[in-house]
């Protein structure tokens, strides 16, 4: 009769260490995965996110603009000021005095926009803009926000952004919670080529490799 090879105590210890290491790594990957973060991020940060959306919408109505951070460190700001005839693109360092001067020069609400920018910076919001979309030839608009939460910065999830869309009207969704084009058509609506999922009737999310 041949007995199975039993591990020696030190070999057993190494094996346990390896298994523990693997489980910790797997746990880290799963806990930081885009799927997991997307289900809770909005609700954890709802107050701040909704406040940003509301103030951006109000400021946009006064004078249209888009803003975001174009570098990994969130120190370089890209500002698009949209007028009837022309869009102006500017790049500033965060807290650069030139930013305030430029906002004043275009008669924008500089204090409110700077406060908004600080809020965007605090939650690592990479971009916010307003986009138009069409349903049955009618124009609608939505607010588009992409955030790079700290958890999404971990390994294996480097280039991902948590993208939120705020609609003006309640939207239609399929049984899996995916955003539909229209109620009657079982056709998914894509925004920037991405499929979005329901958070509530007017807010949807996706995880994307692009922030705009």
């Amino acid at each position: 009769m041949v007995l199975p090879n039993l591990l020696k105590p030190e070999q057993m210890l190494t094996k346990i260490k390896q298994i523990t290491g693997f489980l910790v790594l797997a746990g880290t990957i799963v806990s930081c995965s885009p799927k997991n973060i997307s289900t809770r991020y909005y609700f954890q940060n709802k107050k701040t996110l909704d406040k940003i959306e509301t103030s951006y919408k109000q400021l946009y109505q006064q004078a249209p603009f888009n803003v975001g951070f174009t570098d990994r460190e969130f120190k370089t700001l890209s500002l698009e000021i949209i007028t009837d005839t022309l869009s102006f693109i500017y790049e500033f360092s965060l807290h650069e005095p030139r930013l305030k001067d430029t906002l004043f020069a275009y008669h924008l609400n500089a204090p409110a926009i700077i406060e908004l920018i600080n809020q965007l910076h605090s939650i690592r919001c990479a971009w916010i803009d307003r986009s138009d979309y069409y349903v049955d030839e009618k124009k609608h608009s939505l607010i588009f926000m992409s955030i790079k939460p700290v958890a999404l910065k971990r390994p294996f999830a480097y280039s991902k952004y948590y993208v939120l869309t705020y609609f003006e009207q309640p939207q239609y969704f399929d049984s899996q919670g995916r955003l539909l084009n229209k109620r009657k058509l079982n056709e998914l609506r894509k925004i920037n080529g991405e499929i979005f999922k329901r958070i509530n009737n007017k807010v949807c999310y996706t995880i994307s490799g692009k922030f705009r």
Binding site: D71, R72, L86, S87, F88, Y90, D132, Y134, E137, N181
Partner: protein, 303 residues
Amino acid sequence: MKQLMLALFMLFYLSPDSFATVMQDTVTKGQVTSTPEQALAFLDKIKDLEKSTHWPNIKPRLFLKNLRTNIDEPINIYPGKGTNFCGYGALTYLFLQDDPLGYAQLLLDLYHHGKATFRKTVFDPSPAIKTEAGKLKFKGMLDINPAEQMWYLTLAGHYKGYLNIFNRKYDPGDEDRFWASVNYAKFNRMARNLLHYKLKSRGADLVRPKSLDLYAYISEKMAKGQVVLFINNRIVHKKDHVTIKLGVPTHFIVAEKISIQDDLITLMYWDYGRKTQMQLSNSFLKRIVFGITQFTKTGTDVN
């Protein structure tokens, strides 16, 4: 990926060119081939446009409305969010400014007969393109502009370059893929075919124009005609925070105005339904510009 690799290894002929250092900050457009008034008068004669059997998803009312808007305000033409139609858009922007009547006649010919001939070029779009035109969705304003959908799909289906080698037959969604891509030589070929301009191009798909005072060169070209720039839009219009980006051009813009002050260049350009103004350094301009095509009217100096 294969297509990209192939593109990376295909270098194009860099045409030699001379340049002066005359500074000029606006575009000289020259004599036009036809006027918007002529084009609108032509459209006014159409009292009742019937649904085309060739283009089952194009609504005649929207089609005519789209033609009128484009002729009235070429600045508003919009090649669609997420598509690879920017090259066709830049071409159409110039076409509408120079020969709106030719544009209207060509598009109506295509609409009525399913094919059309313009300046010896025969456009005969595939059944898949005819079915798709009018159905494109989630592309912003292009969704409600069937004439533009028809035109961009027809151009992409007709003109082929090396980027289109592996995807030559249209399938729905191909407007966002290599099927619709435009390399620099293809853009210039389309422009020579369709527009009543003389062309002078400098640059290539993967090699930036070397030994050139780019600001002076572009200014000098704009002083004598329209100028289209082929640029690397990935670093101009960033969409992610990846620091190492492929140094390839992806976007066509029409230069409208250029000036310099204290080494800071102000560039105004047209793309995607609007004019944009940005400030950039000379070195950044050098990093982004891969091709410069000048369009001048016959009889004008193109040197």
